[in-house]
Amino acid sequence: MSGALTVFRKELRGFFFSPIAYIVITTFLLLSGWFFFSTFFLYNQAELRNFFGQLPIIFAFIVPAVTMRLFSEELNSGSFELLSTLPITDSSIVIGKFLAALIFIALMLLPTIAYAFSAALLGDLDWGPVFGGYFGALLLAGAYAGIGLFASSLTKNQIVAFIIGMAICFMLTIFDRMLFFVPESVLAVFAYLGSTTHFQNISRGIIDTRDLLYFFSIIFLALYATTFVLKEKK
């Protein structure tokens, strides 16, 4: 496990050494800020629901951009050979990289707390849904980071990794809105697969085990699949 911690530290520092990180953070803050404030004053309500409402679709694009280099770059430069001949298991590598991506996204979310304080200044803000929203955002980020990491392990090409990751995340995001295409017999299954409903439940401040289970299973499955892909490469 100390190996995972070393990988985690190295990758988190690595994020801030590359310009991509700053571009991603800037894009995220611009997008989310604009979506939030463009309608904030129209509703005339002190709440962050609009911000959290947009988050799944923004994350579907931003998170795969954060994770795309994690394996692709190593596979491309060959440094993966050095990494995997050090005394560390594949699963520790995957966990280390996953946690680095998750913490990076958490740091990216940090400045948006300013939105909450702005809202609290202008009106009577209910902090419950805000905390729920951030908690849900972390779970959502975890799920998408897992998927992005999996996509990154598939290819040497970062762009390809980004597109694969984005496609899967985007699909999960819009599942809920596509349900009218689905036959009634399997409706429940597909309704469960979409990430937006689960996220919205949590961001309303309702912590339901079904929603937690959803996110944790996606994270687990994605990380397991990533470890499997790495093993198959041998």
Partner: protein, 312 residues
């Protein structure tokens, strides 16, 4: 110490390694030789647990690579070809990262890094990013990477490729120095290097071991007999050739070139491993020829290599 048994590796339909069997003893410097694509790198990658064999196994001490990769990785330091390091990291940060991966911490870590900086001559580049380094320095950082855990076994894939002659000598000396206490396996296609550095060589061609033994023994065994170079002054080259061909033990005779008037240069090949110099010299003395050059050609690994790995 390392036992390779019936090792096979397939990449799709292509069989890169065919039933490889050999052992590496403790404290030995072993050279893996072979033309490009012979399977040297594949063998090393399996040994370092980067790739898995299609069948067969490698045992290090009593650990099997399939069941105990972590224990084996702990014992092995590996430098892949062209040292693919993290380019954006500073050299010191990189070494600190490797030290942490090797489980070194605190004072031990600082001490080990300082020692490797000195050993590998990294002092001037320690605060540079890895991607700014020249090939030679990158190779040295790679070597420091491999030696970080003070491993029992050092596996180096073409450690001297792309280095300038001075650096090559330095790295070779370093390998020899390390080889006094540790087991070193390295691949190369520079034969003089293998001859100068290794205790033993294994020559691989198309995934098959074609020779395995101490360098001098191989040279004797596969060198194809001894060659004597002779140069003498005589107006009639035909006559000289005819006379020398009759000497007992001579298998064939190659006239090298006809340089200038009356100079005859030739290479005389003996049968088996027989010294024909006394017999040749007796003939020359009896004829009263003016002898300019007379020596036995050193049997080099180059001949062995060429003979064993020639196409078809």
């Amino acid at each position: 110490m390392i036992e390779v048994q019936g090792l096979n590796k397939f990449y799709g339909d292509f069989q890169a390694l065919k039933e490889l069997d050999f052992t590496i003893n403790r404290g030995e410097i072993l050279g893996l030789l072979g033309p490009n694509g012979a399977g040297k790198t594949t063998t090393m990658r399996i040994l370092t647990c980067f790739l898995q064999p299609s069948s067969g196994t490698i045992k290090v001490e009593n650990y099997n690579i399939l069941d105990h990769p972590l224990e084996i990785k702990n014992m092995i330091g590996y430098l892949p070809e062209s040292a693919p390091l993290y380019g954006e990291m500073l050299v010191y940060d990189y070494l600190a990262y490797v030290a942490a991966m090797r489980g070194l911490d605190g004072g031990l870590k600082v001490e080990r890094i300082a020692k490797l900086i000195e050993l590998c001559g990294l002092k001037e580049v320690i605060h540079k990013a890895v991607h700014e380094l020249s090939k030679g320095y990158k190779q040295r950082v790679g070597l420091a990477h491999a030696m970080m855990g003070d491993p029992e076994i050092l596996v180096l894939d073409e450690p001297t490729s792309g280095l300038d002659p001075n650096q090559i000598v330095e790295i070779r000396q370093l390998i020899k120095e390390i080889g006094k206490e540790k087991t070193v396996v390295f691949s190369t296609h520079i034969l003089s290097e293998a001859e100068a550095t290794c205790d033993r060589v294994v020559i691989i061609n198309r995934g098959v071991i074609v020779a395995d033994g101490a360098t001098d023994r191989l040279a004797r065994e596969f060198g194809g007999g001894a060659v004597v170079d002779v140069a003498l002054q005589h107006p009639d080259a035909q006559f000289v050739v005819a006379e020398l061909k009759r000497v007992v033990g001579v298998e064939r005779l190659e006239e090298l070139s006809e340089v200038g008037e009356g100079l005859v240069k030739m290479a005389i090949f003996s049968k088996e491993d027989e010294d024909i110099r006394p017999a040749l010299y007796r003939v020359i003395r009896e004829q009263g020829w003016d002898l300019l050059d007379f020596h036995r050609r050193a049997e080099t690994l180059e001949n062995v290599f060429a003979q064993l790995t020639r196409e078809n």
